[in-house]
């Protein structure tokens, strides 16, 4: 699991790559919270394009980040989930809470 970020004009983008499972989830939650606290962004984007796997632990990561951004009265969105991660997001219904935009050809399954 690798986490990198960029921030400009109040928009923090967090890039997650590798496999996001329970083993990696606690570290990922903490790393995202630290980035949000450091930059205090208005918008936080979780870019999932680099994920080769995600299970429901990824849902917990998104929900924790959403709660953190709501406490700051900011917005959060999820971008570019690969097909497998998108199926998990769909099954969990998290797209009702957080905007999810997919750059994938074929889109939602």
């Amino acid at each position: 699991m690798t986490i990198s970020s960029s921030c400009s004009a109040g928009r923090l983008t967090v890039y997650l790559s590798g496999e996001l499972d329970h083993h990696e989830a606690r570290y990922t939650v903490e790393a995202i919270e630290e980035l949000i606290e450091e930059y205090l962004p208005r918008d936080c984007v979780l870019d999932l394009s680099g994920l080769s796997f995600m299970d429901s632990s990824g849902i917990a990561v998104i929900v924790r980040a959403m709660e953190r951004m709501r406490a700051l009265r900011g917005r959060i969105s999820v971008e570019n989930p690969p097909r497998q991660a998108l199926r998990v997001i769909d099954a969990a219904g998290i797209d009702r809470l957080v905007p999810v935009s997919s750059g994938q050809a074929g889109g939602l399954l």
Binding site: D21, H22, D55, S56, S57, A60, Q84, A91, A92, G93
Partner: protein, 146 residues
């Protein structure tokens, strides 16, 4: 249903084994020639079942987890994940979306995802004795692609 092939694996409930369990399941399932989507669904369901055992069956100890995969007639993959941990008091409640007794890194969506991605899901549990999750998924034959 008649069994055509199987593997059994046993490993301690360490979270670093989650990735190993789903990779092993995917490698075994490959002989059914699943699509990328079916393979993704299998890896996800295995990850959820094994993570449940690691987090909930053995919250304060390292215990034993057994995973068995069987290929049954009709291109059906059966996945069983068994533990000898604390068990589930109320299986019906545990299967409800968003229900969790886990920490902040759990979402309560594990059983929901297993149900969505598999054709059948059965959970047997006895408090103090352990839990067995059995899932089945039929893999569509890909005629003309071979």
């Amino acid at each position: 249903m008649k069994e055509q092939n199987y593997i059994k694996l046993e490993f301690p409930s360490r979270s670093c084994n989650e990735a190993f369990a789903r990779a092993a399941a995917a490698a075994f399932a490959a002989q059914l020639d699943p699509s990328m989507e079916e393979l993704g669904d299998i890896r996800t369901a295995v990850s959820e079942a094994v993570t449940n055992a690691i987090v909930h069956a053995y919250p304060d100890t390292i215990g034993r987890i057994s995973m068995r995969l069987r290929i049954l007639e009709g291109q059906t993959l059966e996945i069983s994940v068994r533990d000898w941990g604390c068990g589930i008091e109320n299986v019906e409640q545990a299967r409800k979306p968003l229900y969790t007794t886990g920490g902040h890194e759990r979402s309560g969506m594990g059983f929901t995802i297993m149900e969505s991605f598999m054709d059948k899901l059965r959970v047997r549990s006895a408090p103090g004795r352990g839990t067995t999750v059995v899932m089945r998924r039929a893999i569509c034959p890909r005629i003309g692609l071979k």
